[in-house]
Amino acid sequence: MGLIVVGISECRCSADKEASIVTYALGSCIGVGAFDPGSGVAGLLHFLLPDSRQDPARAEAQPASYADTGIPLLIRAMERMGADRRRIRVRLAGGAQILTDNAQLAVGKRNYLAARKLLWQMGVMVEMEAVGGTVSRNLGITVGTGEFWVQMRGTGGNDAGGTHPNETPIRRVPVAGAR
């Protein structure tokens, strides 16, 4: 039982029904929350940057720092605990534009695109996401129920209003041209 806190460039998994996994202060970073309802295995990754090629030594030492090394790490760790990739449902949070508005520095967006690309490549479906804007977010999972929650700090976010004290449900994925 207890609270498992995932720091920046970390990845943690659990099947303990009494546990919750949480990560704080997702700015331009992305939190990848994952849950397999079949095995009850949950996992959470807090990655910092999109592409490990920019610092292979760091990627070796801290693979959870990058989308392209961290996401496979998360999915494989869950699979080792009995999760089935085809059942895993993922929620994304973060990817905000925290720095100055410069296309080259849009790390939040790059992180978001990298996460989507990796998950599509690995055959894992994104269920919902709370991304973009200029807010800092916290992302958590209650392992026993598979419930996700997102908290926001700051302004300019586009998440839906809350239904629980201090908590907001993850909004539905915005889809271009949805009818």
Binding site: A103, A106, R110, L113, A114, R116, K117, W120, Q121, A176
Partner: protein, 156 residues
């Protein structure tokens, strides 16, 4: 060219880039880093996609990409293993679909009330001929892309 037409061309160019960004972000997981009148890529492009359209407005759309962009975009769309990558046939098929999607998204943005029929995309290797009309050169996260739209003059 009248001022009105110049303004229309500017709006058209902005919608063309907007449509491309939308398609590239959502289904190809990449973004546009730079855009300009000319592309910093060696010509001619090795691959070009042509889509002609008719209906409330007739014209032609062309998209050209370099090999780096083609391989990367096709792999992203299909979710193929980055080591093996897509086959040449798959790459051509995905580029045809990408051209079709950008053209369709552009028409839906520029002529919201319009009704169009699009031809099947035609993939040409290498790029053939210039097309008059609106043109934008794009630098993507991987490789280069060139977009052109020709709008047939409407009878007065």
């Amino acid at each position: 060219m009248t001022e009105q037409l110049l303004q229309r061309d500017e709006v058209m160019a902005a919608e063309l880039v907007g449509a491309a960004r939308d398609v590239l972000n959502v289904m190809f997981f990449t973004d546009i880093l730079e855009e300009g009148d000319e592309c910093a890529c060696p010509k001619p492009f090795p691959l070009q996609v042509r889509v002609s359209f008719s209906g409330d407005q007739a014209g032609e759309f062309r998209m050209a990409v370099d090999d780096v962009a083609a391989g990367s975009l096709a792999g992203s769309f299909l979710g193929t293993d980055p080591v093996t990558g897509p086959t040449a046939e798959e790459t051509d098929q995905v580029m045809g679909e990408l051209g079709n999607m950008i053209c369709g998204a552009f028409l839906s943005r520029f002529e919201k009330e319009g009704l169009f029929a699009l031809s099947s995309p035609e993939v040409v290797r290498p790029e053939e001929g210039e097309l008059p009309g609106v043109h934008r050169g794009l630098e993507l996260m991987d490789g280069f892309m060139d977009l052109r739209v020709y709008w047939e003059p409407q009878p007065q």
